[in-house]
């Protein structure tokens, strides 16, 4: 039987644990290992992504071999808020799949995701995870409902070629919003392109505004997620930055109803100088929309006053079906670790993972936030350094300041709804010169406060 060092360690830990808890009679990892368990793994890559699918299939086969008593099925189902509830009700939801950070809070609140606290203890994984990243998937009582596996911070993406055309230094991009404004104006004047642009629809207008408000020191909700706090001076300052660029400098182009795909495409085509997005967007922008990798620049989110950057985090958290049994939860947690986290512990797994990505010409390790401890992540980066095909030099402005940045999670409750309520505010500022920001923010705050009280 092929066993990875980790499952061995888990088994050893489980045996040790078993001897301690044997008298209590609680089932151990070994016990679950012997049980007849069936789980369905979601997020199987579609057939069009051949290499990724091959890698996934290989991993699934290895997992099956390591757990001969378990039945492992796979599904292409991914997180889709439009079908989630129906699949949950109909029992068609995979046992394990990924959801964005944005939605995990609401899922926990609605009781639509499994509590995996005891499964993490049974498998011994709870000690291995990065406690601060894990917070995102915990409720007030410390119960764990998911395992974060990819994380990022929002920052400023910029087109290095346009910077050069406008006489700006692509190696020292703007660090404050004032500098962004100056650079945007310079780009528009020199090239006729939009110097700066911003996401405004599909809840992404509110998402980016949240990051901007954070950068001015504001918050969107109180820590408990019970009170709305975005009707504030900080949000107004953030909105005033884009208002100035739009109406005084005219440096934001002409389209103000933009979703991520629209804007990424314009940016890749060299129509936009700068916009706020996560570093991981490098992959679609370069690989799907065809921007030359050497033109892609990335830096930390601009600040209000030139101090240390403050930004908004996001990422993917793997969750387990709310209807899963304890044994299924244990199997699901084992899979998440095996598929997503093992590469940070095992050099062989790290290299195999990187080699596959190189083979299919996809980015190996884009600078972002670490889902595991920083130390573990650094070690991992060392292992794959020779294989990494991402031009990390272009991320230097980000990497130099990343360590000093403060990363704040998304609003605790109803984040998606809060973002949706702020889309119109951002749109109003960009499409209506006389927009009444006070009234708009007040209206959005009332709507979300009613939501939080529900």
């Amino acid at each position: 039987m092929k066993r990875t060092p980790w499952t061995l360690a888990a088994a050893t830990a489980a045996v040790a644990l078993a001897s301690l808890t044997a008298c209590a009679g609680a089932p151990t990892a070994e016990d679950f290992e012997k049980q007849d368990v069936t789980i369905t793994i979601g997020n199987q890559p579609p057939a069009s992504q051949e290499a990724e699918l091959a890698y996934f299939t290989e991993k699934v086969d290895a997992f099956r071999e390591a757990h001969p008593n378990w039945t492992i099925e796979t599904s292409e189902a991914t997180w889709d808020p439009a079908t989630f509830a129906a699949q949950l009700a109909g029992g068609n939801l995979p046992t394990v799949f990924g959801v964005p950070f944005t939605d995990i809070g609401s899922l926990i609140e609605r009781g639509q995701v499994a509590d995996i606290t005891s499964a993490l203890e049974t498998t011994g994984l709870s000690d291995q995870l990065n406690a601060s990243t894990l917070e995102i998937a915990q409720d007030g009582e410390g119960h764990v409902f998911g395992i974060p596996t990819d994380a990022y911070a929002l920052g400023l993406a910029y087109n290095r070629a346009l910077f050069e055309e406008a006489g700006l230094d692509p190696n020292s991009p703007p660090t404050t919003w004032e500098e962004v404004q100056v650079a945007a104006k310079a780009i528009t004047e020199a090239t006729g392109k939009a110097g700066y642009s911003q996401l405004t629809k599909d809840n992404q207008g509110g998402w980016i505004l949240t990051a901007q408000t954070y950068s001015f020191g504001g918050t969107m909700e109180n820590a408990e997620g019970t009170e709305v706090t975005f009707d504030s001076a900080e949000t107004r300052e953030a909105l005033d930055v884009i208002r100035t660029m739009r109406w005084e400098d005219d440096s934001m182009g002409s389209n103000f109803l933009l979703g991520a795909a629209d804007l990424a495409q314009s940016f890749a085509a060299g129509e936009v100088g700068m916009f706020v997005i996560q570093s991981l967007a490098y992959q679609p922008i370069v690989e799907v929309f065809g921007m030359p990798a050497e033109d892609f620049g990335f830096t930390t989110l601009p600040t209000a006053d030139g101090g240390d950057p403050v930004t908004l985090s996001g990422g993917n958290v793997e969750i387990v079906n709310a209807k899963a049994t304890e044994a299924e939860k244990v199997a699901a947690v084992e899979w998440i670790d095996f598929y997503k986290l093992e590469k940070y512990r095992s050099e062989d797994a790290a290299i195999a993972d990187a080699q596959l990505k190189v083979d299919q010409n996809t980015a190996v390790a884009i600078p972002g936030l670490s889902p595991v401890s920083d130390e573990q992540y650094e070690t991992y980066l060392g292992w794959i350094a020779d294989l990494n095909n991402v031009p990390t030099a272009n991320f230097q402005p980000y990497l130099q300041r990343a360590a000093s940045q403060t990363v704040i999670p998304e609003p605790k409750s109803d984040a998606q709804e809060l973002y949706a309520a702020l889309d119109p505010v951002v749109q109003a500022v960009l499409t209506d010169e006389g927009a009444d920001v006070d009234a708009l923010l007040g209206q959005a705050a009332d709507a979300i406060q009613a939501r939080l009280a529900r």
């Binding site: 009781g111 109803l257 119109p424 749109q427 499409t431 009613a450």
Partner: protein
């Protein structure tokens, strides 16, 4: 006499008579349809109404919450915005979309065989284009920059550039324009079919009385089409009140909620907020309003038709 027999017949006799008349085989014939309709159409409908009074996460048992979903929906400041926008869409869609197919159908009906077939094909063509494709195509046409398709065309005659979907004032008319283009074909064909069924003797008689083309259309065609026109109007109102795909794909409800319709709000409740209680409550309210509207409309038009 027959009535006295009916009054005297027992339920048993009635069933026997129903069976003799072939009621059983008729039922057997209809059964598959009834089951399919019942399961896929009526059951969700009833379930939707039930859910409007519940809070349910689809995991544990639903809890009854009385009218709280309705209270939440009715107190939502966005509801008034959405209702206003939906009314605006309906009015605009009727103003553009109601007379146009009628005029088109009348015009096409005056053509000769081959040109007539070609004209009706061309009128129907937009309907063949899948809605999502059509909307994404029009989104490109509506590019607000000077190099956008519509803007470059209009620039040739010294107009624009217009913001189209990018301004609160012009977003809804822009959406209606596309919706009219996309929907006119079906209505045109239906009117055309109705016009063809008008007996030619009526036109001949009118012609003998010295009626010109306009007079013949007004006095013969329209009165003969009355029932079809009234039904089409009702269907268009119901369809327009449920507009979703266009605002969803064009603008996502923006800018500044200028194109947020009732259905889009309902969609957001369910799929952004995961609040199926509020979503179904709003759905029930919309259905009630439309049912009331239809009833009112039928009462009024019945009086006209008599």
């Amino acid at each position: 006499m027959s009535t006295s027999i009916h009054r005297a017949s027992s339920p048993r006799e009635r069933i026997i008579r129903w069976r003799r008349r072939g009621g059983l085989s008729a039922l057997a014939l209809a059964l598959p349809v009834l089951i399919v309709f019942g399961y896929f159409s009526w059951k969700p409908l009833v379930q939707g109404v039930v859910m409007a009074f519940q809070k349910w996460n689809f995991v544990s048992d639903p809890t009854w919450v009385g009218l709280s979903n309705f209270q939440y929906v009715l107190a939502d400041p966005l509801l008034a915005v959405a209702v206003g926008n939906t009314l605006l869409f309906t009015v605009l869609a009727l103003a553009f979309g109601f007379p146009l197919p009628l005029a088109l159908a009348v015009a096409v009906s005056t053509l000769r065989d081959r040109t007539r077939r070609l004209a009706s094909f061309l009128a129907y063509l937009p309907v063949i284009v899948p809605p999502v494709v059509a909307i994404l195509l029009w989104k490109v046409f509506y590019d607000p920059s000077e190099s956008g398709l519509f803007n470059s065309v209009l620039a040739a005659v010294g107009l624009g550039p217009f913001p189209w979907l990018n301004a609160a004032a012009s977003a809804m008319p822009s959406i209606v324009l596309e919706a009219t283009w996309a929907g006119a074909g079906t209505a045109t064909l239906i009117y055309l079919a109705a016009i063809t069924s008008v007996r030619p003797e009526l036109y001949e008689a009118a012609e003998l009385d010295g009626a010109g083309i306009a007079s013949r259309i007004w006095h013969v065609t329209f009165p003969q089409l009355r029932t079809v026109i009234l039904i089409m109007l009702l269907l268009q109102v119901i369809g327009a009140a449920q507009v979703f795909a266009e605002p969803y794909l064009f603008t996502g409800g923006g800018p500044q909620n200028a194109t947020l319709t009732v259905m889009l709000l309902l969609y957001r409740y369910a799929f952004t907020g995961g609040d199926y209680g509020a979503a179904t409550a709003l759905g029930v309210l919309l259905a009630l309003v439309l049912a009331a509207l239809s009833a009112l409309y039928l009462v009024i038009t019945r009086r006209w038709s008599e």
